[in-house]
């Protein structure tokens, strides 16, 4: 939620901003006209913030169905001369890569900025790929902000440089930039008055057939050299000589290096890179000529380090020998590495852990989450099954006690993997589990493939009417756009039929008995089957007034001698069901009244309570 008006026309004012909100503000200061994104942590707040002021400023802001579409929407706008932004998490760039890999050939017209929000340490991701490598692969410049202020300033600069050099620009952030906060001094907003944009046809540039691309590629390589010369002169890179030992750093690590040098009271030369692709080799050569040994401090891959090594001319280059190649850097990791590099005495702060045994608290499905009911029903239907899973809140179903997910690789892949399991001839029934937003993102073509190629699997679309995990963004199944306007809403049942499913049913998971029946029926059939399990996300349900009065535990029925305190209610793994003095206890402030514990209790010891209203 942005409380501060991101479009406030108050240049010079200092505000406390999330990195992603600072990026949104930078895009506004650059006069962005079209912004498109698919939600994904840690990138989601960028488009959310722009969408909040889009109508007022005359910006088109959209949640696209996936990252490839988002980037392509931005490309079209840019070809027409408008400044355009596409935002996504690091793995989202993989989805957009098909477009990105050729985009640098055509170049852009209006400034085009692709925000790639990387997630070192995998706070909320399946991998921790370093997208600077993708910037290099796609032959586009990569800018790396290091705090909220630079996130805003670099975004604005990225649009300018993109337009000036006619190249798409990657603004690469990490979790500790996107989800860090800091004080930001606002700049001016441009005049957002009406402006017409037009596309100037130029087949040799925009139509990438072999004959054209053969000419575009050498031109692109020449442009990259030009960009590199530009980068060597850019103020985004800062060089300061202060000692015989030098440190080269970029991104959030710049902050850790500054603090480490200060804490250790060391004298070093420092080269901070704001542009990490193409690497400003001329600048680096100058830096290397003034130092005797150099340490490269960067998160994840030795991206800068390996290139510096190729330029070093015999100077010792340290880096990943002192710092990990995986996970996030931390202030103390950097302090330790800098101390070892400088040969300074250093004792790391002691590691302490509590003597008391602390029960773990991993993320869990929320109380009242309908995924829980669906998973539990699936487990009750006895047949042996393989669950090909996917990415979303429902991935949490992989954990104890539900364990209803056997694979999770990337968006949409469960649905296709299920087909591979089937064609490999596994004995188990194959069930693909996919969320509503994920299905629209990457499941449609996979479902069509199953129908066409005869994969007899059961597909369950977990439709909670929102993109829940990333903060409740709307999608084409919800009938609402990013800016809150009513729009077309796709019908999952009709869609599944159109794509070739032979059996399609819809259930409400909170109607547990009906769900069991439908799942049994679906599993007893052959062919491609689709079950749409529709129930609004419990967090949405609260806003929609769907929460009911928590049920009551009938104490005398939940006692040892009657039912041997079976604890069936605990096997659903609901945070709102506890166990207290030998019987079930409903934790009222967490309970949404979904009724799953009522449904699973074999002794009718948990009873629904009539709503007063």
């Amino acid at each position: 939620m942005v409380k501060f008006n991101i479009a406030a026309d108050e240049p010079g004012r200092r505000v406390f901003l999330l990195g992603n909100h600072a990026i949104a503000r930078g895009a506004l200061e650059a006069g962005v006209r079209v912004a498109a994104a698919y939600p994904g942590t840690p990138s989601s707040e960028i488009l959310q913030a722009i969408a909040g002021v889009a109508e007022k400023l005359g910006i088109h802001a959209e949640w696209s169905v996936n990252e490839k579409v988002a980037l392509e929407v931005a490309i079209g706008a840019s070809y027409a001369g408008a400044r355009a932004l596409a935002a996504m998490k690091h793995v989202g760039v993989n989805v957009a890569l098909d477009a990105l890999a050729t985009l640098a050939y055509t170049g852009v017209k209006g400034g085009l900025v692709l925000v790639s929000a990387d997630d070192p340490g995998m706070h909320s991701s399946q991998n921790e790929q370093d997208n600077r490598l993708l910037a290099r692969f796609a032959k586009i410049p990569c800018l790396e902000p290091y705090d909220a202020q630079s996130a805003k300033d670099y975004t604005k600069f990225a649009f300018e440089v993109s337009e000036k050099l006619q190249t798409p620009v990657m603004l690469r952030t990490t979790t500790r930039v996107s989800h860090a906060k800091g004080d930001v001094t606002l700049g001016e907003l441009p005049d957002y008055g009406k402006r017409r944009f037009g596309f100037q046809k130029d087949a040799r540039r925009y139509v990438c057939v072999p004959a054209h691309s053969r000419a575009l590629h050498p031109a692109l390589n020449r442009r990259l050299s030009e960009i590199e010369r530009y980068a060597s002169k850019s103020e985004l890179n800062r060089m300061q000589f202060g000692g015989e030992k030098g440190i080269i750093t970029a991104g959030v690590a710049r902050n850790y290096v500054h603090e480490a040098v200060q804490t250790l009271g060391a004298e070093v030369s420092l080269l901070e890179l704001g542009i990490t692709h193409p690497l400003p080799r001329e600048l680096i050569r100058r830096f290397l000529s003034g130092v005797e040994e150099v340490l490269v401090v960067e998160e994840l891959e030795p991206f800068i380090e390996e290139q510096v090594r190729a330029l070093c001319g015999g100077i010792a280059v340290r880096g990943k020998d002192l710092l990990p190649r995986e996970g996030e850097l931390t202030p103390e990791l950097v302090e330790h590495a800098v101390a070892r590099f400088l040969g300074v005495e250093y004792s790391p702060p002691p590691r302490r852990s509590a003597r008391l045994e602390l029960p773990p608290r991993p993320p869990v499905l929320c109380p009242g989450c309908s995924h829980r009911a669906l998973f539990y029903a699936l487990k009750k239907v006895t047949k042996r099954k393989i669950y090909a899973g996917d990415i979303g809140c429902y991935t949490l179903g992989a954990l104890e006690p539900l364990k209803a997910m056997d694979t999770c690789l990337c968006m949409g892949s469960g649905l296709s993997q299920a087909q591979g399991f089937y064609h490999a001839g596994v004995e188990e029934a194959v069930v693909a589990l996919i969320g509503d937003s994920t299905f629209l993102h990457a499941g449609l073509t996979a479902l069509l493939n199953a129908a066409y190629n005869g994969a007899e699997v059961l597909v369950i679309i977990l439709d909670n009417r929102t993109t829940a995990m990333t903060g409740h963004q709307p999608h084409p199944g919800t009938g609402v756009t990013a800016t809150g306007e009513e729009s077309f809403a796709v019908d999952f049942v009709a869609l599944a039929r159109a794509l070739g499913a032979s059996y399609v049913a819809k259930v409400r998971p909170n109607d547990f008995e009906a769900t069991l029946r439908v799942l049994e029926e679906a599993l007893s059939r052959r062919g491609l089957r689709v079950v749409v399990a529709e129930e609004p996300c419990a967090l949405l349900g609260r806003k929609l007034g769907l929460w009911k009065t928590p049920p009551e535990v009938v104490e005398e029925r939940c006692e040892g001698y009657l039912c041997s305190a079976c604890r069936a209610c605990l096997r659903i793994g609901c945070p709102a069901v506890g166990w207290d003095r030998g019987r079930a206890r409903i934790i009222e402030e967490l309970c949404t009244g979904c009724g799953l514990c009522v449904a699973v209790c074999p002794n009718e010891a948990i009873l629904e309570v009539e709503d007063d209203s």
């Binding site: 406390f16 706070h123 202030p331 103390e332 602390l358 006690p401």
Partner: protein, 194 residues
């Protein structure tokens, strides 16, 4: 002056709101501020931590062993970040447990709250706060985070004044909950000041 504050709790307890209120209050006081927080998957009922650093700093993360203040919205969570506590750390800790699912399922037991506080006091000056009770008294258990903010504001040397924090609360919470939140803030403040 640098004040490093670590906020620990459970996803959904309103930690992001607290870091917003503190950050805005710092800016109103003419101070620099940085911080870092948890979004996305980790939030879903999991352990959540936020860093807030007031003063001229660069890193959004508090270095290990350098937190001056700990604000724990849950007693068990207060013990997870002992690594971060600096010498002379002051800790305001809610004494109202939120048992994790692993406790319900009997995978693990919830430690005794007094034992938790006792162990924490080996590393920090501990100020226990009955956040849940005080929040109820203010009007809603949902104001427990504001109770704890009030308690934090009363700690010795805390760099942000109660007045600035109250203004910052006013600009961040829904208007119809403002009175309730200010009551909660004051109750928390009194719980520490006595």
């Amino acid at each position: 002056m640098i004040a490093n504050l670590l906020i620990a709790g459970v996803g959904g307890q309103g930690i992001i709101l607290l870091s917003d209120v503190l950050g805005n209050a710092a800016i109103s006081s003419g101070l620099s501020v940085r911080g870092s927080e948890t979004h996305g998957m980790a939030q879903r009922g999991g352990s959540v931590v936020a860093h807030v650093r007031i003063g001229r700093v660069r890193s959004p993360l508090i270095p290990r062993g350098r937190a001056d203040y700990l604000l724990a919205l849950e007693p068990l969570e207060a013990l997870r970040y002992l690594d971060y506590l600096g010498e002379r750390c002051h800790a305001v800790v809610s004494t109202s447990p939120v048992p994790p699912a692993s406790v319900h399922a009997k995978v693990a037991g919830y430690p005794d709250v007094q034992a938790l506080l006792a162990e924490l006091s080996e590393y920090a000056e501990v100020y226990p706060v009955e956040a849940r009770e005080l929040a109820k008294r203010a009007g809603s258990v949902l104001t427990a985070n504001t109770v704890m903010l009030g308690a934090l504001s009363a700690l010795p040397g805390f760099p942000l004044s109660a007045r600035v924090l109250r203004d910052s609360i006013a600009s961040r919470v829904p208007p119809k909950t403002l009175d309730m939140n200010l009551r909660a803030f004051n109750l928390g403040r009194r719980a520490v000041k006595g």
